[in-house]
């Protein structure tokens, strides 16, 4: 059965085009993906991302447990801070990617992909033996609203939230419009922004308030279509496209997120540390098409006349007008920034240039 968020009726009332996304009936667009995309880059947009999973991990061994299942160093995560993590298997392949927040002593929040909640919980319980932890999947009780864009800060201020000391990648308990919630300064668009985690019963009220208070800043509801083009311009990975159980963090270009001096053992450490030194079997690259053709998920990539890999995400970039893509190719030194590869589109090869990621630079550093 297709699931609906507590904001489903709002989307339908706003005239959204709805699609099935990972088992959820979600808005793909309200007006136009390009318009919505530009709204977020230039002003501010509101997203319903309530389909994402929220798992609370608490108990005496919460820190040690999380430290065992991610390559990131949870012992160095301060109170109210967030860290981008991956959930590797022993062979380094990824079960999911996550954001872990430290909410208090022995209390953490894990936000994971909607499509992977069951696999994550399954994986977590398999790893739980010997640890004194309580894993509480609260995904069905919480709604998540993302306010994203250069004017996101103006909207939350207008709603009475004092963000003075809230930096990027932090989370705080807050009271906004009389509602107790968790406010996190994170997002998935390459812009500054906030994600508000509330109990389901407050979701509709908060959604309306954000649109009302954000009106003077040009806020609009944004669908999953623009969420995808925004994250791709920022070269943020999408699980299922750019990450999967056959891909390691290093192959995915996520080496920057992995501490090389973490003392504790963790799942996949041997493979990951070996790949840090020697590289993986494949590598993620950014591409810009050199003609009008668009590289899409699943298209083959060629180098020097031979198949070298596959496109995992691709779209037209509404900000630059160029056709951009992420691809995995053989870990070949010659396939480097500035090199030309070919993408097989409708049985013809089309040139693409390897470029640095992200495709669009973040303008508002926080």
């Amino acid at each position: 059965m297709v699931k609906e968020t507590y904001l489903h009726d709002k989307h339908v009332a706003l005239g959204a085009k709805m699609i099935d996304f990972g088992g959820w009936h979600m808005p793909v667009q309200y007006s136009s993906i390009i318009e919505e995309h530009k709204t977020v880059r230039e002003n501010v947009g509101l997203f319903d991302v309530s389909h994402m999973g929220e798992v609370f991990v608490s108990g005496k061994d919460a820190e040690a447990f999380l430290n065992k299942i991610v390559p990131q160093d949870i012992t160095k995560l301060d109170y109210e801070k967030a860290v981008y993590c991956q959930l590797p298997k022993e062979d380094g392949g990824l079960i999911d990617d996550l954001i872990i927040y430290k909410l208090g002593i022995e209390k953490y929040l894990v936000i994971c992909n909607a499509s992977r909640v069951d696999e994550d919980i399954n994986w977590i319980s398999r790893n739980q033996r010997g640890f004194d932890v309580f894993v509480d999947n609260q995904s069905h009780n919480y709604s998540l609203l993302a306010i994203q864009g250069p004017k996101a800060i103006d909207v939350v201020r207008k709603m009475g939230y004092d963000i003075e000391d809230q930096k990027s990648f932090t989370i705080k308990p807050a009271t906004i419009e009389g509602i107790k919630l968790l406010a996190s300064r994170t997002g998935y668009t390459g812009e500054d922004g906030f994600e508000l985690l509330v109990e389901n019963k407050y979701a509709e009220f908060l959604w309306d308030k954000v649109l009302e208070k954000g009106a003077e800043f040009g806020i609009k509801p944004i669908g999953l279509g623009a969420r995808d083009t925004l994250r791709l311009e920022a070269a943020l990975h999408l699980y299922g496209n750019d990450l999967d159980e056959e891909t390691t963090s290093i192959e995915a270009g996520l080496s920057w997120s992995i501490p090389k001096d973490k003392v504790a053992d963790y799942n996949g450490k041997e493979v990951i540390m070996n790949q840090v030194a020697n590289g993986g079997n494949k590598k993620l690259i950014g591409l810009v098409m050199l003609d009008r053709n668009i590289a899409r998920h699943g298209y083959d990539v060629y180098f020097n006349g031979e198949k070298t890999g596959v496109i995992t995400s691709g779209c037209v970039s509404p900000t630059t007008g160029k056709n951009i893509a992420l691809a995995y190719v053989k870990n070949d030194k010659e396939i480097c920034t500035g090199a030309t590869v070919q993408v097989m589109i409708r049985e013809k090869l089309h040139d693409a240039e390897v470029v640095k990621r992200p495709f669009v630079q973040k303008r508002n550093k926080v």
Partner: protein
């Protein structure tokens, strides 16, 4: 008289306006479903296609789709202006947004096509 009054439509959302030449394009419903159009690949004058053949490709931000010939025929004119500005299809897919003009070769090909009114009804 509105353009759609005389067109015939396929289940795959192409239209053809009978005539010499006949005019072929995509329905407003197809364009609406695709969303922002960002790419269009059209055939060349002189190319020949059978009914049901893929003769063009269209892409929106979301997805890539093939466009099929509603009737067999030979391409006699291509709306080349659309290749450089495919987004114009989001404004008008009929008077200025037709894709190709063809010399239809088989009158019987029209028989299983729907009038625009029937097509709209089918969509509901």
């Amino acid at each position: 008289m509105s353009f759609t009054e005389n067109i015939l439509c396929t289940k795959s959302h192409e239209f053809v306006l009978k005539g010499e030449p006949a005019i072929v394009g995509l329905t407003d419903y197809a364009i609406e479903q695709l969303g922002d159009i960002v790419f269009l690949e059209l055939p060349e004058v002189g190319d020949e296609f059978a009914k049901g053949d893929t003769f063009a490709n269209i892409e929106s931000v979301k997805a890539a789709s093939e466009i099929y010939m509603p009737v067999s025929g030979k391409i006699v004119e291509v709306n080349t202006a659309l290749i450089d500005a495919p987004e114009a299809l989001n404004e008008d897919c009929y008077e200025n947004g037709w894709l190709v003009k063809i010399e239809a070769t088989n009158e019987a090909d029209y028989e299983d096509l729907m009038t625009y009114a029937d097509y709209k009804e089918e969509l509901e």
